[in-house]
Amino acid sequence: MKTKENIQEFEELVLLAILKLGTGAYGAAIHEQLEEAGRNVAIGALYTTLSRLEKKGYISSWMGEATAERGGRAKKFFKVEASGETLLATARNYRRYLSPDPGYAMEGGAA
């Protein structure tokens, strides 16, 4: 259960939001998703985290096409890479292993 990298809570939430959004994961959608989940974060802080995750190789990004509703500006799309998914799975395993709640631990064992 050893891993070289640690993941911060907010980084984990961002990775999960990208996974949930799938192919439609771009800045505004991720920001909205986090807001709906109760995490009211500044868009600058979100992009700082996204850039850090990209630098570490957990996500990749590409620019989409410009749209009129965005004033002719392009969307920046994000995708979780295999290393990001592994990191999420590791974080989940730690939680399951250390959780005092037997239900949570069993749920982890079954998965």
Partner: protein, 138 residues
Amino acid sequence: MFELIKNLTRVEILTLMGAIISAISSGFSLHILISAWRARRIKFRGQAQPKENLEPKIHSPAATAELILHLLLKDDEAEAVGGDLQERYSKKVERFGNRRAYIWLWSQVLRSIWPLVKRFFTAGGFLAAAEFIRRLLS
């Protein structure tokens, strides 16, 4: 210009940055005051006009807000963040009205400054400061 910045001492750079931050803060205050005054005028005139004439279909976020973020973001990020703010701002206007959307926009920009400044300077130190001043002057 770059040579001049390179020759400055640490104290001089910090003083210069202090002056720039003060100037930006004064600009903010003036911009907010003017916007509040404009909003009051529109609201006052709006009482006699139908609502659809008051709200344009495309809602543009404040140019000053975007400019501030543009100074601290990489070029591709600046485009994406500008678009994201525009998109979310338009949705907020439709859902909550101009006033709340405007407050939301500025809260986003002001709360974004610290994380972006931190990233900007941790990444490049004093060279980043010089780059910031260059962008400000260009």
